[in-house]
């Protein structure tokens, strides 16, 4: 590996990061207009649609909800849609648009998939093209790609209102937020985006199979379908569930290097924009920028580390004279640098789309996606979930260090007190509890040990990765784990559900508690939550409170994997 190649990889990471920073403001302003419920040019076309929804559903969008109502309505919606999708998947065999006559899914499989898509995880234990009909993909799954993303943003909006408002119980209306985000942001963006993808060669058709004649004269059935439409929301909504099993490594999902780059940008677009929206909402855009810089700092560090390790290649192969970057499990079309970057992006956000197999990364290169998710996917993060997860850490950072300026802690004009701390801790505890707790269960039970293909520390990483991905609602697979068993479907389903809603509910409760507080104007004596010092403090808090917990598991997984590999040990 020449230093020029290494440098070009770092260059790619930096150019990408710069573009993300540039995207934040336009997307942030767009989201802010929706947050405020302002009339946009899109209202002329979509306004009647929005009003029609409300009329049919009997909703008054102006009737504001307190945090309990907001949470109850949200949960009801999630439970009903999980049951709906479960039914669609179970009954697939008897439903239309199933030309290949695929059978219904098993109860555990259907449950797992329903939860996976409702929680914005999109964990796929199956290969989409061989297991799901087009109806299941569209009605059962793609719909959640929109709704789960919109739900995440709705929760973020409610939390923003908690910070921005004072002495009120009202956090907005869940149904209005859900409808507006879907109609005015996700749908129009995805239509434009899908058209771009179609133009670049991504299929979009109701047909199911193409009969291709190979050079040898044999017939090959190639599965196609509404790929571009699912691809667009898969990225923008940080869902990650691909049409094909190979996900964004498949040429039909990700045909060119440019599309690959655009896909990465689109994963971060709304998440980065929401940091700016937050700044606007609390009346100081510098607050939003500080969050974005802290996120990007963590991101660049992770992506660069992953690229550095991938570029170094596999030490086991060096003995055999195979030099150069680690190319196992990667698309030659994208190369090692773009694959390392994609892995960092998809796990920093809660996307989970992959353009390379993370299982085949070097041990330490694979540590980065794992660690990104263990932090709670708050580095840009999932749409909505990234910023609300990050704000939990901001609250903790303010609380840990804020006292050092001689005032009781406050963040963007709101005092942080026992109730917020209790709820933030509650939401943060869920990550180690599910990730480490369920991994511990899986690594001792025979049903769990049957999963990983690899032995030794790498096998441990495979199991750890699965529970990390599920709990953090990422959905990317390390691969190498046979997860389509009742054991894994069940446990991972639990992890996804708890990982989503045991965070969402405390976040809404914090929003409610903050909204009821008075607004404390900032002065020279207030704790500064903009600027380099604060950014450094945020990063340190996230690494120490969020990251250190996972150090033992990382030591026994990727780190041991790397060190034993370097020592020439094979398992």
């Amino acid at each position: 590996m020449t230093s020029a190649t290494l440098a070009s990889g770092f260059g790619l990471i930096l150019v990408f990061t710069a573009l993300v920073a540039l995207m934040a403001k336009p997307f942030g302003l767009w989201l802010f207009a929706v947050y405020e419920g302002r009339t946009t040019p899109l209202h002329r076309v979509l306004g009647p649609v929005e009003r029609a929804f409300y009329r049919v559903a009997g909703i008054n969008p102006n009737q504001e909800q307190d945090w309990r109502q907001y949470a109850v309505h949200l949960m009801l919606f999630q439970v009903v849609t999980v049951i709906f999708t479960y039914a669609v998947l179970r009954l697939q065999g008897s439903l239309p648009m199933n030309p290949r006559g695929l059978a219904g899914l098993s109860p555990d499989g259907a449950m797992n998939t329903a939860i996976a898509f409702v929680t914005n995880t999109n964990w796929q234990w199956y290969a989409g093209e061989t297991v799901l009909s087009n109806l299941s993909q569209m009605l059962g799954l793609t719909i959640h790609n929109f709704l789960s993303a919109a739900t995440g943003i709705a929760v973020a909006f409610a939390l923003f209102r908690g910070f921005a408002r004072a002495e009120t119980r009202h956090l907005g209306n869940f149904w209005a937020d859900l409808t507006r985000v879907t109609l005015y942001v996700l749908l129009p963006a995805c239509i434009v985006y899908a058209l771009y993808l179609v133009a670049s060669g991504v299929p979009q058709t109701f047909a199911s199979l193409i009969d291709a004649k190979t050079l040898e004269g044999a017939h090959q059935a190639i599965v196609v379908g509404p790929v571009a439409s699912q691809e667009a929301i898969k990225m923008l909504g940080t869902n990650g569930g691909g049409f094909y099993n190979a996900n964004s490594a498949h040429p039909f999902e990700n045909p060119t290097a440019l599309v690959d780059f655009v896909q990465m940008l689109s994963i971060f677009a709304l998440g980065a924009g929401l940091t700016y929206t937050f700044g606007k909402a609390v009346g100081n855009t510098r607050q939003g920028w500080a969050i974005l810089w802290a996120m990007l700092l963590l991101f660049v560090a992770g992506a660069s580390f992953a690229w550095w390790r991938e570029a170094a290649g596999n030490p086991m192969l060096h003995h055999l004279g195979v030099m150069g970057a680690n190319m196992e499990g990667k698309e030659v079309r994208f190369g090692a640098a773009a694959s390392a970057l994609f892995a960092a992006v998809t796990t920093a956000a809660s996307c989970g789309a992959v353009n390379a197999m993370h299982d085949s990364f070097t041990a330490l290169g694979g540590l980065v996606p794992l660690f990104n998710m263990q932090l709670g996917e708050i580095v840009i993060g999932g749409v909505g979930s990234g910023i609300y997860g990050f704000l939990l850490f901001a609250v903790l950072a303010v609380f840990l260090a804020g006292l050092m300026v001689g005032r009781t802690p406050e963040y963007v004009g709101k005092k942080v007190e026992a109730r917020e701390v209790k709820l933030a801790v509650l939401a943060i505890v869920i990550l180690p509890l599910c990730i480490l707790g369920l991994t511990a269960v899986a690594v001792v039970l025979p049903a769990g040990l049957a999963g990983p293909l690899a032995k030794g520390p790498h096998g441990f990483s495979e199991i750890l990765y699965a529970f990390t991905s599920a709990t953090a609602n990422n959905g990317s697979a390390f691969a190498g784990l046979t997860a389509g068993t009742p054991f894994y479907n069940g446990l991972l389903g639990v992890a996804m559900w708890l990982g989503r809603f045991l965070v969402v509910i405390p976040v809404l409760a914090i929003a409610g508690s903050l909204a009821s507080r008075k607004h404390t104007p900032a002065g020279p004596g207030s704790f500064p939550t903009t600027g380099g010092l604060w950014i450094g403090l945020l990063v340190a808090t996230i690494l120490i409170v969020g990251g250190l917990t996972f150090l033992p598991s990382l030591a026994l997984g990727p780190v041991a994997d790397h060190l034993t590999g370097a020592a020439g040990l094979l398992y």
Partner: protein, 671 residues
């Protein structure tokens, strides 16, 4: 009040050791969940030592257990020591209060402990006042040195703002009738002493929130450690319980948990040393959060008395003539204002100050005439308010001289000064301007407060013209002129409506509503009982300037808590690097590269980490008790400094400390 002796003097440390052991009682320990967890783990290992087979050497296990118990004991010792210091302070307050005897109007004597609220007692010269109360008849001078340390007697009289008396203080002259307002043991001093001693200490809201966070971190690390045996089993090995316990205890925030209540007690204690008693820890915390400070002009911003600044003669009068007349009129005037006129005459006109001439008659100031002066065998000089002087010389009052006098007086008032007219033998001479003297250094104090983000508002009864002039000169941010108690209350409410916290001090009964409304209300001890009950602090020295220091003490308390929390959490990084390689070495020997500190052996690494974790507690006790120094710079600069010292320092210190202990442990063959 006695100053505390050295922090670690035997008279404080020895009882604290006993207290540390008593605090091991589970019912007490459970109030501190982190230390409780540590104790449970220590107990578990102690039991396992006798019944389990851990595969670890006995010596290593015993050392581990000893250090775990020491961790708990250091925590309870810190709290005990802080309480002991408070108790020493309180003892000197309490000393005067035992065995008080009350004399009832019928002459019978009863123990003060039996007095009911509303009872009436008589106190004559030489007797101690038996209970907190209010003077309902008579006037007396009282020595309050017992509580204030100030030996100059103060006047206590029925009605007005000086009617409150405190139990344990001594009447020096006359006799007063006192109505008891607080039963024995219920007086505000009793309540505050109890707070200082720690007996009635409630956790403050901020402490509660911090405790929740510490519990949360404990749970997170409990999960991290409890899952390790399963992970180890996957890797084909086993980690001894003692080692897991060591990792858990080093990771959970024992340092700040051990020092948390000591910091709180020490904060209250610092206030007491400052002769301020707070009714709750909450009030001290609120002091740190203050955004607006309401300060009375007189006594706080200006010295209580006005000083002569200028002689302004009428046309046709020589300045020296006016000065000499003013000097003669003030010869017998013992007030500070009168003295200042003599001083100005000496300095500005080099006049000698003679003795009062023999046979001269002093014209005393009375409320009726409002003039004073000297009648030297028919040669009469007088001074007084302009209107009063004009009334006393009816002939001159109608002339043009009177018009000029009035005009000069108005000019003087506009400059923030008070005019005093001078007349000699019925002729008007001119005006002596009396100036409010701004306290030395007060301008700098306000600049400091501004840097701290605190806005100062001057409260004065002066007219807006004068108030504006004084405000500009003193550098105060804002002022409230011609202020009535209602105006004060309205101002506080308005600021609070805007989300700001307000502090003020007051002494009169009509201050009580504002004192109660303010987030920090400091009542002067010389004030009325109503004021003392309404405020949440009482200043025994009755010095309104102290409000500024109280804010600093509140900030210091919060800063100390924050600094040690940050330090404690930052320590975890190094502890991981000490224990993880040592612990997992049996599973993957290659993990020894993580032993960045090159600790001698796995056992010495674990032992060193747990020893550092325990020893850091007593090492930080002095800081916890003294408090982190507060500097009035902006929050940004303060944060930068404290983050560098306690954040970065907290990252580095354990690396150095653990390595040093490890070298010692290896040298002594302890592990």
């Amino acid at each position: 009040m006695s100053q505390p002796t050295s922090m670690f003097s035997a008279e404080l440390v020895v009882p604290a050791l006993g207290g540390a052991l008593r605090k091991l009682h589970p019912a007490q320990l459970v109030r501190n969940p982190v230390l409780f967890t540590t104790a449970v783990v220590a107990l578990l290992l102690t039991v396992l030592l006798f019944v389990g087979h851990t595969g670890l050497s006995l010596g290593f296990q015993i050392q581990l257990i000893v250090w775990l118990w020491l961790t708990v004991l250091f925590g309870t010792f810190a709290e005990s020591l802080a309480e002991g210091r408070g108790r020493a302070q309180a003892a000197s307050l309490r000393a005067t209060r035992s065995d008080l005897v009350a004399r009832l109007p019928d002459g019978s004597k009863v123990s003060a402990a039996t007095l009911q609220k509303g009872a009436v007692v008589m106190v004559a010269a030489g007797e101690l006042i038996p209970a907190d109360g209010e003077v309902i008849a008579g006037v007396a001078s009282v020595n309050e040195a017992a509580i204030t340390g100030e030996s100059a007697p103060v006047i206590r009289e029925a009605g007005g703002d000086r009617s409150a008396v405190t139990a344990g203080t001594r009447v020096l002259s006359d006799e007063i009738t006192v109505r008891v307002t607080q039963e024995a043991g219920q007086g505000f001093l009793d309540r505050m002493i109890a707070l200082v001693e720690g007996a009635q200490r409630q956790k403050t809201p901020n402490e509660i929130a911090l405790t929740i966070l510490l519990v949360g971190l404990t749970i997170i690390f409990l999960i991290a450690v409890a899952t390790i045996p399963a992970f180890a089993r996957y890797a084909g090995g086993q980690i001894p319980v003692a080692v897991l316990a060591a990792l858990l205890i080093t990771l959970i925030p024992t340092t700040i948990a051990a020092l948390l209540s000591a910091i709180g007690i020490a904060g209250m204690d610092r206030l007491v040393q400052f002769n301020v008693l707070a009714k709750s820890g909450r009030a001290v915390e609120a002091a740190g959060d203050i955004d607006v400070l309401l300060l009375d002009k007189t006594g706080t911003i200006t010295v209580g008395d006005r000083q002569a600044s200028n002689f302004l003669p009428l046309t046709g009068t020589a300045p020296a003539t006016l000065a000499r007349a003013a000097l003669m009129a003030s010869l017998a005037d013992e007030t500070p204002e009168g003295r200042s006129i003599l001083r100005l005459a000496q300095e500005a006109h080099s006049l000698e100050v003679p003795e009062v001439p023999a046979g001269a008659e002093v014209i005393p100031f009375t409320a009726q005439t409002r003039i004073s002066g000297l009648d030297n065998n028919g040669h009469v000089v007088t001074k007084g308010a302009v209107d009063a002087i004009l009334r006393s010389v009816p002939d001159a009052a109608r002339g043009t001289a009177a018009a000029e006098l009035r005009r000069i007086a108005e000019d003087v008032a506009r400059q923030g000064q008070t005019p005093l007219a001078v007349a000699e033998n019925g002729t008007l001479l001119g005006i002596v301007a009396l100036k409010d003297v701004i306290k030395a250094g007060i301008r700098e104090r306000f600049a400091e407060l501004r840097k701290m983000g605190i806005r100062t508002v001057m409260i004065t009864g002066d007219n807006p013209l004068t108030a504006a002039a004084i405000a500009a000169e003193s550098g105060v941010d804002d002022f409230l002129a011609e202020a009535t108690p209602e105006d004060k209350l309205a101002l506080i409410r308005r600021e609070q409506q805007g989300g700001r916290l307000v502090a003020m001090c007051g002494d009169g009964t009509n201050d009580a509503p504002a004192l109660a409304q303010a987030d920090v209300g400091v009542a002067m001890n010389t004030g009325t009982q109503a004021a003392r009950e309404a405020g949440n602090m009482v200043d025994l020295d009755s010095d309104p300037t102290k409000l500024i220091e109280i804010v600093g003490l509140g900030k210091q308390l919060l800063m100390t808590r924050g600094a040690l929390t940050t330090f404690s959490v930052a320590n975890d990084v190094a502890k991981y690097f000490a224990i993880i390689p040592a612990m997992f070495l049996v599973l993957y020997p290659q993990l020894s590269v993580l032993n960045v500190m090159h600790l001698a052996t796995p056992q010495s690494a674990i032992l060193s980490a747990i020893m550092f974790n325990a020893l850091i507690i007593p090492a930080l006790v002095p800081l916890a008790l003294k408090g982190v120094r507060y500097r009035p710079v902006g929050a940004g600069a303060l944060l930068a400094r404290n983050l560098a010292v306690f954040g970065v320092g907290g990252l580095i210190a354990p690396f150095v400390g653990i390595k040093a202990i490890d070298m010692l442990v290896a040298a002594l063959h302890l592990a």
